[in-house]
């Protein structure tokens, strides 16, 4: 079973993702950017779902650092954001993320994207 790191500060949204994915994947959770980097280093997940608005360190910065870390840079990062503005997606892509999804999450689309990035 593959491991997915979910980075989401809002508990309710974190819980929703857990419920959607827990049957098929091993899940590691983080509620802010700093924790995300720690969990990623510890757990070496196969994929990361990254929220953008995060306390301590935002999603853009966390993504940039992940991609800058040789040991972690190959882990696909899918950004999930409630920010529908064009600028957000551009900034996210500029930080090095592999894919982008707007909230509310279209679960079908989410499953598709996860499967594609995991090579399933």
């Amino acid at each position: 079973m593959k491991t997915i790191l979910i980075v989401e500060d809002v508990a309710l949204n974190r819980e929703l993702l857990v419920q959607l994915l827990e049957d098929d994947y091993r899940l590691v959770l983080a509620a802010d950017g700093v924790a995300a980097l720690e969990r990623a280093a510890e757990a070496k997940p196969d994929l990361i779902l990254m929220d953008l608005s995060l306390p301590r360190m935002d999603g853009w910065e966390a993504t940039r650092r992940l991609k800058a870390d040789e040991t972690l840079s190959r882990i696909p990062v899918i950004v999930l954001s409630a920010h529908a503005m064009r600028g957000h997606e551009d900034r996210a892509r500029a930080s090095g993320c592999d894919d982008f999804l707007t909230k509310p999450i279209d679960e079908t689309l989410l499953f598709e994207k996860i499967a594609r990035h995991l090579g399933d």
């Binding site: 949204n13 929703l16 959607l20 909230k103 509310p104 999450i105 679960e107």
Partner: protein, 884 residues
């Protein structure tokens, strides 16, 4: 010959008529009658006809019928001798009368006289009258019978002959009158007889000394010199012209041509010469010289006037040089004279220019000016009565010119002529010539003086016109400059006020100019001020807007307020009097600055002397006041707009931030609602009642609708904030439209509605923002699907003239005509309740239209209520960014 023939012809004719009329009238003796007839025949032979019978006792005259023809006068005009006399030339009348007296006294056998008489046309004609007196027994003359006729033609012929004789006499008179021979050794002078007669030389005076004494004193030296030159051999012969006494009290001009006979030593022993009378020629020469002098004088005068014209044209801005040229020319042309130009000014006669050879006299003459403009002076009369005043001799000067006479006495002149310079019937000045010698000016000199006066008037007029033109040009320029300042400084009144005050200073020769403004406190404050003693003025301000000040009064009454004398003038408000005194101003002009009837301030110009501002200046200040008012209003409007713009910008930014935040904040819980609902529905479908499952479906649908609303609002906000960029790319229109149709297909009620694609031919490639094109077309198609329950939805497209029209025509419920535009507004479906029935956010069309416009296109709607609607999107085939 002609005259003779005419006489012969007339004689026969008139003799018959004349004789009959005589016989009828005369009751005289046979002898007398015979004598009479004889005399009569004599008469008729001499002249033209016209017989008269003058009854001396009662002084009546009877005429023959043809007298009128003879002298051209009707007998009715010639009833008495007085009638006749009245027609006779005054020079001839004494002869006419004397002839009768002689005849009556028996000194002449008959009366005969040629005289001039006035013909009917007023001209003088010659008549010849003959007459014979008839006497009673005592010898007293009872009547005179005779004839009279016109002899003008004869007189003319006679005159012509006499003249030709005179000419002949002249021609011969220039010939040599005599030969002389002067023997120097014997001292004898020999003259031919003719010369002696000609010169009335008595024989006993034939000595060279006697000759010499006859030579005109003025010519003697020249004569001697010529003689000496010839004797000394310096001239081959003597040839000299001189005057010599003619022995009858006069002089004759002679041409003396002689040659000396010399002895062996070369000494002249004898002088032989010829004398010619050249008096006529000399006279002609003198006459010629006089004529030439006159011509030269005229030329000189013309030159003078031309010079003045030259000065005039080269100094259009200044009359002074013209006046100077006039007096300088005048002094050259009028001998022994001083010339002045004067002008009336404030009730005085002021000296403008003077020319006088003697500086001391010039100084004394200048001291007489200015003097009062009254009729006590010749200048005064010339100016006030607009006529020339000529005073040939001050000794004869009228007592009414008492004051003028004193001036004369002081300056030592004898005569003066003053000519007015007349413009439009009024004198604007004078030109005067003063002279040492008494005596009048010649007509020509007066004419010249008048020419000078005319030129002076033209010069004055020129300068006035020039200044007026320059002035109005200056004013226009100033006004344009202010307008320029207004348009280039809409945010700030200061540059406009500066420009206005600067212009006022220049155009009004104002010592101070200022601008008072009504400020927010409702009081007048100094807005701008150019001039001294500002601190004095500041002490008075602020002022209430009341008639107690010039500014206040002009604003309250909305008119220009003018005080030519602030110190002593009537009705000057206390504040103004006080203010003007403080800053040293004697006359002031205020103009109100009005905007829509509201006074916003006043502009004022002040001078340090008492003076009235002209109508033109008042009008000009009014213009400046208006411009200042416009400037103030401009700045007020500009600031208002600026402020509103700023507020709008802030509001818009707040709105955008709010929308972005709201969108984020709403999506997060919505994310949970939709997500968890889906999980519950998926995992509990088989465990819960179908009714509850439907409720979950409704929660999901509502959540999704809410999400669509949030997305649309966000889209609209982005478009409104101008944050939507057009990303043009080249696309094939057909595939895009096909794809849109496929996307919407699931929404179409498949059983009752057909979706038809009708593309005209092969649609071209297009440069457009594909994403936005899709958004619009999908919106139109989904609207159609939403409102069409049966029939068809047709997606049509055709390209022409560089644009493409994409239409979506449905057979749905349609839109009432009055709602066709409203539906493009936010949250405005045709029927407010339709959202609930048909769904949708109410923002789709609004966004679609905004996007279409953003790409240089448009969406229009047509509809028939109940039978369907057609929405047409037009777009340029190739998008061009607005900046390109």
């Amino acid at each position: 010959m002609r005259v003779g023939q005419a006489k012969a012809k007339k004689r026969g004719r008139s003799r018959a008529g004349g004789a009959i009329s005589l016989q009828k009238r005369l009751r005289v003796s046979e002898q007398r009658l015979r004598l009479l007839q004889e005399r009569y025949e004599l008469l008729m032979g001499a002249i033209n006809e016209g017989v008269y019978d003058w009854n001396v006792a009662d002084d009546t005259i009877h005429y023959s019928e043809n007298v009128q023809k003879a002298v051209g006068l009707p007998p009715a005009l010639l009833k008495t001798t007085a009638d006749w006399r009245g027609r006779i030339h005054p020079d001839d009348l004494p002869r006419y009368v004397a002839g009768f007296v002689d005849h009556f006294k028996g000194r002449t056998e008959r009366y005969e006289c040629d005289y001039r008489y006035r013909a009917l046309d007023g001209s003088w004609r010659w008549a010849r009258q003959h007459g014979i007196a008839l006497r009673d027994k005592t010898g007293r003359v009872q009547r005179v019978i005779g004839a009279t006729g016109d002899i003008t033609e004869f007189k003319q012929a006679e005159d012509a002959l006499r003249k030709s004789e005179e000419r002949y006499a002249l021609a011969t008179s220039a010939a040599v009158e005599g030969i002389y021979e002067w023997d120097l050794e014997s001292g004898m002078l020999f003259l031919t007889e003719r010369a002696k007669i000609f010169f009335s030389f008595p024989a006993d005076q034939l000595t060279p000394a006697a000759w010499n004494t006859r030579v005109h004193a003025e010519d003697y030296a020249g004569y001697r010199a010529a003689m000496v030159d010839h004797f000394k051999g310096r001239t081959p012969h003597l040839e000299h012209e001189y005057r010599i006494a003619d022995g009858q009290g006069g002089y004759k001009w002679v041409l003396d041509r002689g040659i000396g006979m010399r002895n062996a030593k070369g000494r002249v022993t004898k002088l032989v010469g010829a004398l010619s009378d050249i008096t006529q020629r000399k006279r002609a020469e003198i006459e010629l010289r006089r004529a030439r002098d006159q011509a030269e004088e005229a030329l000189e005068q013309q030159t003078a006037t031309a010079e003045i014209l030259g000065v005039m044209s080269s100094s259009p801005t200044d009359v002074e040089p013209v006046f100077e040229a006039i007096v300088q020319s005048g002094i050259r042309l009028f001998e022994g004279a001083g010339v002045t130009v004067t002008r009336p000014e404030n009730g005085q006669v002021r000296l403008m220019a003077i020319a006088e050879r003697d500086p001391e006299r010039a100084r004394r003459w200048k001291e007489r000016f200015p003097f009062p403009l009254t009729r006590e002076y010749m200048h005064g009369v010339a100016i006030l009565d607009c006529r020339m005043v000529d005073m040939p001799d001050v000794e004869q000067m009228d007592e009414r010119f008492a004051a003028g006479k004193r001036n004369f006495a002081a300056s030592g002149y004898r005569a003066m002529t003053v000519v007015p310079m007349v413009k439009d019937g009024a004198a604007v000045g004078t030109i005067a010539v003063v002279r040492d010698a008494a005596g009048p000016l010649s007509d020509r000199q007066i004419a010249l003086l008048k020419t000078f006066a005319d030129q002076a008037v033209i010069a004055i007029e020129n300068v006035r016109l020039f200044n007026e033109t320059r002035e109005s040009l200056d004013q226009q320029k100033a006004s344009a400059e202010v307008l320029g300042a207004i348009s280039s400084s809409i945010a700030d009144t200061a540059p406009v006020f500066d420009k206005i005050l600067e212009s006022c200073e220049r155009l009004f020769a104002g010592r101070i100019v200022g601008l008072n403004l009504v400020q927010e406190d409702g009081l007048l404050h100094i807005g701008a001020y150019h001039g001294a003693h500002r601190e004095e003025l500041e002490r008075i301000f602020p002022l209430p807007v009341t008639p107690e000040s010039g500014s206040g009064l002009s604003i309250v009454e909305g008119r220009v307020v003018h005080y030519p004398d602030t110190e002593h003038g009537d009705g000057v408000p206390a504040r103004t009097r006080q203010g003007c005194k403080a800053i040293g101003i004697k006359s002031v002009l205020f103009a109100p600055m009005l905007w829509e009837g509201r006074g916003t301030g006043a502009i004022f110009v002040g001078r340090d002397h008492v003076s009235s501002f002209s109508e033109k200046e008042i009008a000009l200040l009014r213009i400046f006041a208006d411009q200042a008012a416009i400037a103030i209003e401009n700045v007020r409007l500009f600031n208002e707009i600026q402020e509103k713009g700023r507020q709008l910008e802030i509001a818009s930014r707040h709105k955008s931030e709010f929308l972005a935040n709201m969108s984020h904040e709403l999506r997060t819980p919505l994310n949970a609602i939709i997500g968890f609902t889906r999980i519950v529905m998926r995992r509990s479908e088989e465990h819960i009642e179908p009714k509850q499952y439907e409720n979950l479906e409704k929660i999901l649908a509502s959540g999704q609708h809410l999400l669509a609303l949030i997305n649309s609002i966000l889209d609209l906000a982005k478009v409104e904030a101008g944050r939507v960029e057009v990303n043009p790319g080249e696309i094939g229109l057909s595939p895009v439209l096909e794809s849109c149709a496929r996307t919407v297909e699931p929404l179409v009620k498949a059983d009752a509605v057909t979706l038809v694609k009708e593309f005209d031919g092969a649609l071209p490639q297009m440069v457009v923002d594909e994403e936005k094109l899709r958004q619009i077309v999908i919106n139109l198609l989904s609207n159609a699907a939403k409102f069409t329950s049966r029939g068809s939805i047709r997606l049509q497209a055709h390209a022409s003239n560089g644009s493409v029209a994409i239409a979506v025509a449905d057979t749905g419920i349609g839109i009432p005509p009055d709602k066709l535009e409203v539906i493009f507004e936010e949250f405005a479906q045709a029927d407010a309740s339709s959202t609930r029935v048909y769904g949708g956010t109410g923002l789709g069309l609004t966004i679609a239209r905004r996007l279409a416009r953003l790409m240089g296109g448009e969406i229009t709607a047509e509809s028939v209520l109940g039978s369907g609607s057609t929405f047409t999107l037009t777009l340029p085939l190739r998008y061009a960014s607005p900046g390109a």
